[in-house]
């Protein structure tokens, strides 16, 4: 890859400074880590401003900013449509996740499910979903780290790239280990500020270059774009919709991003750290607004790259489109801007790995001890959480480094499909359907996972297309991304599963709704038989429905 646009030395120097700052943040957060809740949830003391920045930063992957800019330069309107799907997904987060989940005061999603279903099933569902999505997503993040190493730090050798990616992973482990959720949140908030800052500066410079004449810019982008085989103009739909397999491929991508993104555990677990339900809601709302502004800048920069540089001179093929933003940064701001962008890209990857690791450690430690029905001493649980950080983190870094040679990028839509199918129906039914029960939870979560996995196995993401994991084999039967079918099927499975069982727990539903809407929590009653009632089948099935 010719990367004359990169400024590796400047990027490395800025990175070292930034990493020192981030480590300092983690170390100062260490003093606050007295209990497991301090570690998992930052003591539920994250205010709405910082949480909004952290949520936004948790949303921005390497691909969100680099690939999307190149995507807009290549595919114009169809790509901007794709980015709008992600912006829209924040409305689902706002209405169905942020306020209700924080009000219920959970630590993992199991605390929500357990109000409606058998606690054991709830814990297993939480641990399986959180860990699976952590693994697949982390592998994609590390692949992004490899691209950053090659593209922006000029590291040509495979060994060098592996070492750098492993270094990013170790840095993320240290941030989580030392700083817990508070340290991770501060790192993410810093990442958010850096992203907003550099995009805003680039946008303003490009606007000034065009003397704020957006009409002219649109015209130039249209005229200078590389012609597309489908014959579609840059600013008209068709460049993605008219693929070899027809419009269904792009339709499925627009659907997946919209329905699945809010249901990623590492995203919604951040609401649990907010100071209150209303603050969680505010943070989701502002994160959505930040994301919308972010994508408008990305769309603008993607079009500006074509208008200023000409379609021939920026990344033309999909593997090269990631270079569009660095080329533009170099053009607009010179080597210092390109170097700063490289350092920000490094922080983007490290921040993602840290926040993902945080979600896995929280679920494995907390849900794990609940499954074994032990109530560890707080100091022991804190120690276990730190041990799990090292074990899970090291195993993941090893796996991700080994998989650097494999085409794992397709795991991105697959992960979001898993979240949409396994989590969204279970959360929506838990919040709004009185009849929902253990069987419904089991069918929707595990059925959703299974259907998504099978669809993935036989999709163009696994085989039969150039981007697939096995590009040289072809046993694909469906062209679309899994969630287009698996989310509706998971909703159906949750419905059928619920009806297949006679269990119902109207009291659990009443409790969930009161807590989700008001944040009220009644202290546990002294009589242990009554307090643990939801665990026994007789009591659960015993309540007759009140006609509401």
């Amino acid at each position: 890859m010719n990367n004359g646009f990169a400024a590796p030395a400047i990027a490395a120097a800025i990175s070292i400074g930034l990493v020192a700052v981030l480590l300092g943040m983690a170390v100062t957060a260490r003093r606050t880590q007295h209990s497991p809740d301090d570690f998992y949830l930052a003591g539920r003391r994250i205010g709405p401003g910082q949480n909004a920045l952290a949520l936004f930063a948790g949303f921005v992957l390497f691909t969100t900013i680099f690939t999307m800019t190149g995507h807009v330069s290549l595919n114009g309107l169809d790509a901007i449509l794709f980015s709008a799907a992600f912006a829209m997904s924040w409305l689902i987060a706002l209405f169905f996740f942020a306020g209700p989940l924080r009000n219920i005061r959970g630590t993992t999603i199991a605390d929500v499910f357990a109000l409606r279903a058998d606690p054991r099933t709830a814990r297993v569902a939480s641990i399986v979903v959180t860990l699976l999505l952590f693994l697949t997503y982390s592998i994609v993040m590390m692949e992004g780290g490899g691209i950053v190493a090659r593209m922006l730090f000029g590291i040509g050798s495979e060994t060098g790239r592996s070492i750098m990616v492993a270094g990013m992973g170790v840095l993320a482990i240290v941030i989580v280990l030392v700083g817990g959720m508070l340290g991770t949140t501060r790192v993410l908030a810093t990442k958010g500020v850096l992203i907003i800052g550099i995009l805003a500066v680039l946008t303003v410079i490009a606007l000034v270059k065009y003397r704020f004449n957006l009409v002219q810019l649109l015209g130039d982008a249209q005229a200078k774009a590389v012609p597309h085989p489908s014959g579609s103009d840059l600013l008209a739909p068709g460049r993605e919709f008219n693929g070899p397999a027809g419009p269904i491929v792009h339709i499925s991508k627009l659907f997946v991003a919209f329905v699945g993104h809010a249901a990623l555990p590492y995203m919604f677990m951040r609401y649990f750290t907010a100071t209150s339900g209303p603050d969680a809601r505010r943070s989701a709302g502002w994160a959505g607004i930040l994301t919308t502004g972010f994508y408008m800048c990305v769309a603008f920069l993607g079009l500006a790259a074509v208008a200023l540089l000409g379609g021939q001179n920026i990344g033309m093929a999909p593997p090269l489109r990631d270079t569009t933003l660095p080329i533009l940064a170099d053009h607009l701001g010179g080597p210092w801007m390109a170097g700063l962008l490289g350092a920000v890209a490094l922080i983007i990857v490290v921040g993602m790995l840290a926040t993902l690791l945080m979600s896995a450690v929280t679920s494995v430690t907390r849900d794990g001890s609940a499954l074994r029905q032990v109530a560890p001493e707080p100091a022991d649980e804190l120690r276990a959480a730190r041990r799990n950080t090292v074990v899970i983190g090291a195993a993941t870094v090893l796996l991700g480094t080994v998989l650097l040679q494999v085409n794992v990028h397709v795991l991105l839509p697959v992960t979001i499909s898993f979240a949409g199918a396994a989590v969204l129906p279970a959360v929506v039914y838990s919040l709004f359907w009185k009849r929902f029960n253990t069987a419904g939870l089991r069918w929707s979560v595990f059925g959703g996972l299974a259907v998504t996995a099978i669809l993935f196995l036989f999709s163009g993401l696994m085989s039969g297309t150039p981007i697939a994991i096995l590009p040289n084999a072809d046993f694909h039967l469906v062209d679309f991304d899994p969630a287009l079918a698996s989310v509706p099927i998971a909703f159906l499975l949750g419905y059928l599963g619920t009806l297949s069982s006679r269990e119902r727990n109207d009291a659990g539903f009443a409790q969930l709704q009161v807590r989700a809407l008001t944040g009220a929590v009644l202290p546990a009653v002294r009589n242990p038989d009554v307090a643990t009632a939801p665990a026994t089948g007789a009591t659960r099935a015993g309540r007759t429905p009140s006609a509401l």
Binding site: L81, M88, G238, F258, G288, A507, A533
Partner: protein
């Protein structure tokens, strides 16, 4: 037995849930969520289908080197901000005060 404080925890939640005040809050919150969801989900699916199957409509020129598709995209971005803003305001001015009253009542009576 018989007084509120000696009811089981589950029964107390049911009692709060069935109270008129909570039912009003629930209806207001869920009505807003339902309408907003119908609007933004419907809008998005309409956008997807129009872009995929009526490219000619999206391509129609609008003054200023724009076209219908780009205008609808700008509207989509604007809609995210507007719906978010409206919900945050509705929740702050209508839902939260009602929730606070119920919560203070529930947690106060429990002590």
């Amino acid at each position: 037995m018989g007084t509120t404080s000696s009811l089981s925890q589950a029964d107390r939640y049911v009692a709060v849930h069935d109270s008129a005040r909570f039912q009003t809050l629930r209806r207001q919150a869920h009505t807003f969520t339902a309408w907003a969801s119908v609007i933004f989900t419907g809008w998005w699916f309409l956008m997807i289908l129009l872009a995929a199957y009526t490219p000619g409509f999206f391509r129609q020129a609008v003054p200023g080197n724009l076209n219908v598709g780009l205008l609808l995209l700008l509207l989509t971005f604007a809609m995210v901000i507007v719906i978010t803003g409206l919900y945050l305001r509705y929740a702050r001015t209508v839902l939260d005060p009602a929730a606070d009253v119920i919560r203070a009542d529930v947690e106060g009576a429990a002590r």
